[in-house]
C-alpha cells in the first residue's frame, strides 16, 4: 500500500507524516487505516505496558485495547499541525496507563488523567511549527545522549519510576540521578535551567 506520496526526504519526517495521514483517515472512520495503525502501534503500546508497573504489565493487552479504542474515538480531535501521530498516541497511552494503575489500586478519585494533562491548544501557527521542529530535534539528539543519561530517561518515562526509584534501581545517589537528568535536559534543550 502506498501512503504519504508527498512526504519529505528525511526518514524520520516521512514516518511521521505517514502515520499522521493514517490517523486522519481513521478520523473519517476508515477501518482499514485503523488496522494499519493498530499493527504498527499496538506492539509499542504493549511494550509500554510491560515496561510499567507489575500491575500494568499484568494487564498489557487490556491496555492495548483501551488505548486503541480511545484512538478511534478521539481521532477527529487530532490536529496534524500540532503534533506527530506518535506523540498524540503516546500521550493517550500514558494517560490510560496512569488511569489504569489508579483504578487497579482502587484509588477513589474525582480526577482522571485528562484533567491532569489537559490538551492545551496554542492557537499560534508559529508555536505549532516550532513544536514539530522540536520533536524532530529531540528525536535526533536522543541518539547522541550518553547511555548513563538515556538509561535514566527510559526509566522515568517508560518504566514510570520517580527519580528516587531510579536511584534505588541503579544503586546511585539521588543527586547523581538528578544531575544526569539536568545534563540530558540541557543537551536536548528541553527545559529552562533552574
Amino acid at each position: 500500500m502506498s501512503m504519504a506520496s508527498n512526504a519529505g526526504t528525511d526518514a524520520t519526517g516521512r514516518r511521521d507524516d505517514e502515520w499522521s495521514l493514517c490517523l486522519q483517515q481513521v478520523a473519517q472512520s476508515d477501518r482499514a487505516a485503523f488496522a494499519r495503525l493498530f499493527k504498527h502501534f499496538a506492539p509499542l503500546i504493549k511494550a509500554f505496558a510491560l515496561n510499567g508497573s507489575a500491575m500494568a504489565a499484568a494487564h498489557a493487552e487490556e491496555l492495548v485495547q483501551e488505548v486503541m479504542i480511545k484512538v478511534w474515538q478521539k481521532a477527529s480531535g487530532y490536529n496534524p499541525q500540532k503534533a506527530a501521530a506518535s506523540t498524540w498516541i503516546y500521550t493517550i497511552a500514558r494517560n490510560c496507563r496512569t488511569d489504569m494503575y489508579r483504578r487497579l489500586q482502587k484509588f477513589d478519585t474525582p480526577i482522571n488523567a485528562e484533567d491532569i494533562w489537559p490538551d492545551v491548544e496554542s492557537d499560534e501557527l508559529f508555536a505549532a511549527v516550532q513544536q514539530k521542529r522540536d520533536a524532530a530535534r529531540i528525536k535526533d539528539m536522543l541518539e547522541t545522549l550518553p547511555h548513563e543519561q538515556a538509561q535514566i530517561l527510559v526509566k522515568v518515562y517508560m518504566e514510570g519510576k520517580s527519580h528516587s526509584e531510579v536511584a534505588e534501581a541503579l544503586d546511585l545517589p539521588l543527586g547523581t540521578v538528578k544531575s544526569r537528568v539536568r545534563l540530558a535536559m540541557k543537551k536536548l534543550q528541553l527545559t529552562v535551567e533552574r
Binding site: F48, T91, R94
Partner: protein, 218 residues
Amino acid sequence: MINYHPDTRLLNEYSSGTLPLAQSVCLSLHLNYCDQCRRSHQRLQQLGSALFEDLSPQQVDDSLLRTVMARLDEEPEPLQYQKTAANEDDCPPLIQRLMQGDYEDLEWKSISKKVHISRLRTGDVDNEFALYRIDAGASIPRHTHRGTELTLVLEGGFSDEEGHYEVGDFIMRDAQQQHSPTATRDRDCICIGVLDAPIKFTDWKYRPINPFLKLQAS
C-alpha cells in the same frame, strides 16, 4: 508575570506520569498560568514519545485486532473534545471541579483568627491537598516541614523570607526550610498547599500543637 516555577525533577515526573496525584494537580494548575512551563511540558511529552517509539515492539496476536475491531461498534460515537483555554483571570477549571463550587461554599477551618484551611479530596491518600486563606496582611505561623510542601498562589499574594509570590507562582519547600508566609496587605490570599508530611511550627506559641498535627489526605 510568573517568577517561580517547578524544578526539572518535578516537571519530568509530572510529564511522565510518575508524580503522585495531588502533586500532579498542583503542577497542572501552575501550567494553567505559565506559558513557559507549558512549553517545557510539551517538549517533555515529545521526549516521552521519542522514547516510546524506541521501545522494542512486542508481539500482538491478530485476535486482539479482531477483538478491538468488534468493539469499535459497541463503543459510543467518537467524542468531540472541548479545548481547554488557559485563562489567567479565572479560577482554573480543575480546582473548580475539586471544590464543587466556589471558595465561599467551602468549609473553612481556622488555624488562627486570620488563617483558614479547607482540605479537598483528590483521592491521593499519601498527600494532603488543601486551600489556605490568609487574610490581608496576616501570616501563617513560622514553621518547617517534615517532608515536601508544594504551594501555588491562586488569589492575592504572599511573601516569606525568600521572596514575594503572586498568582500562578509555584513554590517547593522541604524539611530544612523554615518560613512564615505573610499575605500582602491589600487583599486576602488564597493558595494551595500539598503536603506529604505534617508541618512543624517553630513559634513557641504554636509548638505545643505539633504532636497533634496529622496529615489529612483523602
